[in-house]
Subunit: 407 residues, 2 copies
């Protein structure tokens, strides 16, 4: 009887775990509540209408079609019973396992103010991206219909909270849309008067990057027309604006890209969590008391490992290999993060990149960003489509996915 | 003082009316509740995951950006007061006009049973297409989780009501997805066992085509694996199936492509409507008693003119020219429909086409369909994207937009 390996979540961690088990004598079940694996690093492009949703997603079922030892279930795992080795689905059905790999990730955190989510959506799923796209595009449409100058200014003010990679990418792209894509298309105002505010609680943008790159990123953002507010924590958000650092900003569009809040599934494992709700895994990524349960990706709290795609992939692969070792009665191995660096784009021709002591910025960094992202996309077709889409946006300044859905 | 021309609705009728006024000494206002013009003939491809939503839509604002006498408003016109020459928007705001062109189209009709809409969505907007895509993809996912054979069979049965062009296109594509795209991707069942039922109330498919082409279309559908039920009117629909011709069909997915029901805006004009709620226009497309109000496209009841894109374009253009003639104190001209023929595809390599007495079917008709549809798409980029997308689907049998949104 083959061992049953259950993988919950098919982001980078879960997908790479599943693939790493392709030749193992196990039954793999991959459960995700979406039908697609998502290339999150380009999600901001969907939110800013540069790419269509299918361009950066691939059906999990199609990715794993040829892996004969794997089956895929579209379901929402609500709880894990580690003692009984069971996962409970949204309809009450139980899935039994011999080994479990939990890879359900993390979302943004509203620092205890979840009610702000209504006014300031985060960006983690394709649905989030389409909601943000809708808000951005409709803000300009509302401005065209608004006759009161103060009300119009609030529609033309965009606040992005959190200056990590996502916040920086959203702010840079939004500024370019206002300055380069939309001029000439409105009759009541000049889109170049739109204000893009990037609000950060710490003293620099991209706080996980070296300080000199943070400074370069800030300068590049300001060159694009973004106003950067540092050392300002958001203390309030509602339908008409945000308060940050004691100052009120009248805006109808707030996007949230701050904080980390782990998937609630972690709490059902019954093991110690860190402040963000992440699981404090053992060195081999298993959880205390359950060597058959592994936690990988953003859901795992591992000192010195950033919450980025390469880290999740490496963890997923190691957890899968530790499952295979266990089946061979070999001892598990500890996780060692291989740092391939970090990249963040700022608009359509600048970026910052860091690889150990090696640093890059401006256009060369942007080219590197482009090559890396195209290369790591899942599926040959997606690579073509994304490359063509980005090239089109680059040359024409158009955002071809300027389509409001869910009116 | 320039005359104010208000165009309500920016489908084919409204868009071509606006463009035809580009050189007229008027102020044009185009109002639509969507931000995009939609290429409806390819909407079934979005519904069946062959194309992404932005591929067949273009922002109205972008299309008309260079037409300096036009402004675009995203708004929902709720009522027309033809006496006061005012249109009322959803927020109560009034738009005054000197000339009005109403082009708000028509939807499907549930024959007095609007409650069926919940179980059997129609296909008119991008949101409709994404909802249908979601239902189709989720039906297969549910089947994979279902252990009861009868319940699974209901998830694997798809009923399409109405065998006009949309119904035929949906049925043919769905059958191909089940037979060619999905096999090998499920572990609990063979997708080739899925049943696609096309239910039609009259005695043939494509009732507006010549009878011999209807017969050819039926044979092509059956060759793809579609079961065609003729002479069966749907008498009931609920969450678990439909009743047609006295027989109950257990299905969890019903798609509606039957009947015509005009936009409710027509009723506010205060003029005679036909049974489907369409406006009985005068020969010059104006309405009785109001030579300054024109109705074009699917909303206009004109004897012998089918509800297809070329007819709407021709009407939009004529209405615009009659506005220009009125400004020059010239008499208006009557509408004469130029019949460029009709085309419907059946799967990915067959179609039927009719142009007067000239008829085409099979692969040659499909090639003609492809050329015509690519040619008439709005925007060079959309042409490229759609051509590439259809070519990809054609060669690989993949449906690249197999992404469920709005979970």
């Amino acid at each position: 009887m083959r061992a049953r390996v259950l993988i919950v979540g098919c982001g980078f961690g879960g997908l790479y775990a599943a693939r790493a088990l392709a030749r193992a004598a196990v039954h793999v079940t991959v459960v995700d509540r979406a039908n697609h694996h998502l290339f999150q690093p380009l999600l901001y492009q969907v939110a800013t209408a540069g790419l269509s949703a299918p361009a950066i997603a691939a059906p999990i079922r199609q990715i794993l079609a040829r892996q004969k030892n794997a089956r895929v279930l579209l379901a929402d795992v609500r709880a894990i019973d580690a003692e009984r080795r069971e996962a409970t689905l949204e309809d009450g059905q139980a899935l039994c396992y011999d080994y479990l790999i939990v890879a359900t990730g993390a979302a943004h955190s509203y620092f205890g103010h979840d009610e702000w989510a209504l006014y300031a959506p985060g960006l983690k799923t394709l649905d989030d991206a389409l909601e943000i796209r809708r808000r951005i595009l409709l803000a300009f449409e509302h401005a065209e219909r608004e006759s009161d100058p103060a009300c119009r200014a609030a529609w033309l003010t965009f606040a992005i909270v959190g200056a990590g990679a996502t916040g920086v990418e959203l702010a840079g792209t939004l500024a370019e849309i206002a300055r380069h894509t939309l001029p000439g298309q409105f009759r009541q105002f000049d889109p170049r008067t739109a204000r893009v505010m990037l609000i950060e609680g710490t003293d620099r943008v991209l706080p996980t990057y070296p300080p000199d790159l943070s400074e370069k990123a800030r300068l590049q953002l300001e060159r694009l027309g973004v106003t950067v507010w540092l050392n300002r924590k958001v203390t309030h958000a509602d339908a008409e604006g945000v308060e940050a650092g004691g100052e009120r900003l009248a805006t109808r569009t707030v996007l949230w890209a701050a904080g980390v809040s782990a998937s609630p599934l972690a709490a059902t494992l019954g093991v110690p969590l860190d402040r963000a709700g992440r699981v404090e895994v053992r060195p081999d990524l298993s959880i205390p008391g359950h060597p058959e349960v592994f936690v990988v990706g953003d859901l795992a709290a591992v000192e010195g490992v950033p919450g980025i795609a390469p880290a999740a992939k490496q963890m997923g692969r190691l957890a899968a290999r530790n499952v295979a070792r266990s089946l061979q009665h070999e001892p598990s191995r500890p996780f060692r993060y291989r740092d391939y660096g970090q990249l963040a784009t700022i608009g359509r021709r600048a970026a910052v990149a860091v690889f150990g002591r090696f640093r890059l910025w401006g256009f060369p960094a942007w080219l590197l960003w482009l090559v890396a992202h195209i290369y790591f996309l899942i599926g040959f077709r997606n690579r073509l489509v994304v490359l063509a889409g980005l090239a089109w946006s680059y040359w024409t300044q158009e955002r071809h996915a300027r389509i409001v859905l869910r009116d």
